[in-house]
């Protein structure tokens, strides 16, 4: 594709590395910003350097997912993998510059090293893309920016090697030099992560500062019980089956096998003004009906809840289309009997009791709300800081 001696492949690799640097920096910046336990906008654009935005669900979902960081038990939020990308792109930017400047004086061994290592970000990107598609069901634009940069880098580095493969006039270089570059790549890749890990603020004083449940038991009614197969930790959850954050939280509990160690008392708290007087407009239209379906699930309540989460997009659309569409969806999946229960006045009363239980406890009107035993987990500890917080407050849950 490129002629012998062409500098274009190295230039492409250099541009790709800088693009990768920008996307990896944005991703790391978003992660680091959340270490203050506040809400922040998130960078989520194909355009390098585009400002952070509030509507960035896919990028937020990726950030909160278990795949976004390493060592989540040891560090609050973990050590984001974008840091390794940041370090690696630093190395490849410098190495591409070197290859670009040295031109035909670059040895074939050097270019072989460049090609071999230049595809590693692409391999990691392919792995992360697969995870995004299969586990998260969506691809965040910033991540996609890194994937595209990685692909360009791989293209540039491999093309540089291919163009020089048959060029016998190039000088030779020693294997020791290759070993040194490899070491430099390793060090450069690790440096940002080490600096991050060494400087993240201690979150331990904050994770116990979000209060306790005021009234531990509902009077005259019962919660939905979700008893994990190895349940050792009591937990109280307030959830809305049509709330994306609840779905993401539930998915994290399932993916990380935490749910099986919890003895959950679930209270339904639909953010739908149809039944929830605490809202003046429905945030999730139809959530009251789906919440009643979960209540009617009785022994199958967990299955109904997980069905609602799995079909959340469809049910949300159905909820907006009207109650009958939603009822039809419930009937189709769970049958006439469950739908009759949904329409029963007693179920209205049960749901109302759950909402009153929430109001007696003065929970924040946002979902999910999570109590580990009696202690309320701060919202930020239910997403980015979940594993770290569980590790501190209920370490046996992570074993």
């Amino acid at each position: 594709m490129f002629s012998r001696g062409s500098k274009a492949p190295a230039a492409i690799a250099l541009i790709a590395s800088f693009l990768g640097l920008i996307f990896a920096s944005n991703s790391t910046l978003d992660y680091a910003a959340h270490l203050d336990r506040r809400l922040h906008d998130v960078h989520c654009s194909f355009i390098p350097g585009a400002p952070a935005v509030a509507e960035a669900e896919a990028c937020r979902a990726a950030m909160y997912s278990p795949y976004s960081a390493l060592l989540k038990d040891q560090y609050w939020g973990g050590v984001p993998i974008s840091l390794f990308g940041l370090g690696a792109f630093c190395f490849f930017a410098a190495f591409s510059l070197y290859v670009l400047m040295s031109g035909e004086r670059t040895s074939r061994r050097t270019l072989g090293f460049f090609a071999l290592t230049g595809v590693t970000p692409l391999l990691v990107s392919l792995l992360m893309l697969t995870i995004s598609l299969t586990q998260l069901g969506q691809v965040c634009k910033t991540c996609a920016g890194i994937y595209i940069s990685s692909a360009l880098l791989a293209f540039g580095s491999v093309s540089a090697w291919l163009a020089a493969r048959s060029d016998g006039s190039r000088p030779t270089s020693s294997l020791a030099l290759v070993a040194a570059w490899l070491a430099a790549l390793a060090v450069t890749t690790l440096v940002p992560a080490i600096v991050y890990a060494a400087s993240v603020p201690d979150q331990r004083p904050y994770i116990t500062q979000c209060g306790e449940i005021k009234v531990a038991k509902i009077k005259g009614d019962s919660p939905v019980k979700i008893h994990g197969v190895r349940a050792i930790q009591p937990a109280i959850l307030f959830e809305d089956p049509l709330c994306p954050t609840c779905k993401a939280f539930h998915d994290r509990l399932v993916t990380e096998n935490i749910i099986e160690k919890l003895d959950i008392e679930l209270y339904l708290f639909p953010l739908d003004s149809e039944c929830n007087w605490m809202l003046d407009h429905p945030l999730h239209p139809g959530a009251c009906i789906v919440a009643k379906a979960v209540l009617c699930g009785e022994g199958n309540s967990r299955q109904v809840l997980e069905w609602a989460y799995a079909e959340q997009e469809y049910l949300t659309r159905a909820g907006k289309a009207g109650d009958n569409v939603l009822r039809a969806a419930i009937k189709q999946r769970w049958g006439e009997g469950l739908l009759r229960c949904v329409d029963d006045r007693k179920t209205d009363v049960r749901l109302n009791n759950h909402l009153h239980f929430a109001s007696e406890n003065n929970i924040p009107v946002s979902t999910p709300q999570v109590y580990l035993g009696k202690r309320r987990l701060c919202d930020e500890d239910t997403d980015l800081g979940l594993r770290f917080t569980l590790g501190q407050l209920a370490p046996e849950v992570l074993k």
Binding site: F2, F91, A93, A94, L97, Y98, M101, V195, I363
Partner: protein, 251 residues
């Protein structure tokens, strides 16, 4: 693609070796600068987050807190009367000796309010509540009364307290009517107890019986939702009643 015009010295020549060394140095320097820059950037981000962590948030986003309903008709005066009902008529009382309900003399005393003003306070509850009608001299609930009561009871929404204000018409003696309105209030309470099967019902339902001596309803109240909408209504039948409603006020 493009053929680069590279005026590079031939590999192996002295100038070539020098240029290669220069490229290596530039590459090395770029690597060090970029890595150090990335490390410093990361360090500044975490340090900045750490600073914000210890500083109180200036414009903390306000999050609504779950609570009982509080609607526009919950004026201070209305709440004052209801609170007196709560305290004086036993809803907030616990343990032995807690009183259940308020008789006319109690209401007159604690409400400290004229008859008309007392009734006016309940005007905003016109559509939320209902008037349960009784036969003359009777305290039994008929089927329509039970139906209306059931509808109103199940339409709780965010209310914490359910008020029952029983009355008797002018016909008959004051003491007889006091007792009659008391029985009417109790009939409502008994029905609700059976309906709700709620161990906490005593703390939710406030009973007032006014006999015929306080806050009688005028004929205008015949237009309120009641259990006998098809029957002739005037000041006699409308006061043979119990007004029931959930109250959407935080008390």
């Amino acid at each position: 693609m493009t053929q680069a015009m590279d005026p590079t010295p031939p590999p192996g020549s002295g100038a070539g070796v020098g240029a290669a060394a220069k490229a290596a140095l530039v590459g090395l320097a770029a690597g060090v600068v970029l890595t150090a820059g990335a490390a410093l950037m990361v360090r500044s981000w975490t340090a900045s987050a750490a600073e914000r962590l210890v500083e109180p948030e200036k414009e903390k986003p306000k999050v609504a807190i779950a609570d009982q309903a509080e609607v526009a008709y919950c004026t201070p005066q209305f709440k004052q009367v209801l609170e007196r009902v709560l305290h004086s008529c036993g809803l907030s009382g616990e343990g032995e000796g807690a009183r259940r309900g308020c008789k006319p003399a109690d209401v007159k005393t604690f409400a400290s309010i004229s008859d008309d003003d007392f009734n006016a306070l309940f005007t905003p509850l016109k559509d939320r509540g209902g008037v349960i009608m009784f036969d003359e001299g009777r305290d039994e609930l008929d089927d329509k009364a039970k139906k209306l009561l059931e509808e109103r009871w199940y339409d709780r929404k965010g209310a914490r307290y359910f008020f029952v204000v029983a009355r008797a018409s002018k016909t008959g003696s004051q003491s007889k009517n006091n007792a009659l309105s008391h029985r009417r209030a109790n009939s409502v309470m008994l029905f609700l107890t059976q309906l709700a099967n709620d161990p906490e019902i005593e703390k939710k339902v406030g009973l007032l019986w006014l006999g015929n001596e306080f806050a009688q309803l005028s004929k205008e109240y015949c237009g309120w939702p009641n259990s006998r909408p098809d029957e002739k209504c005037d000041e006699e039948p409308i006061n043979r009643s119990a007004f029931v409603s959930w109250v959407d006020c935080r008390l």
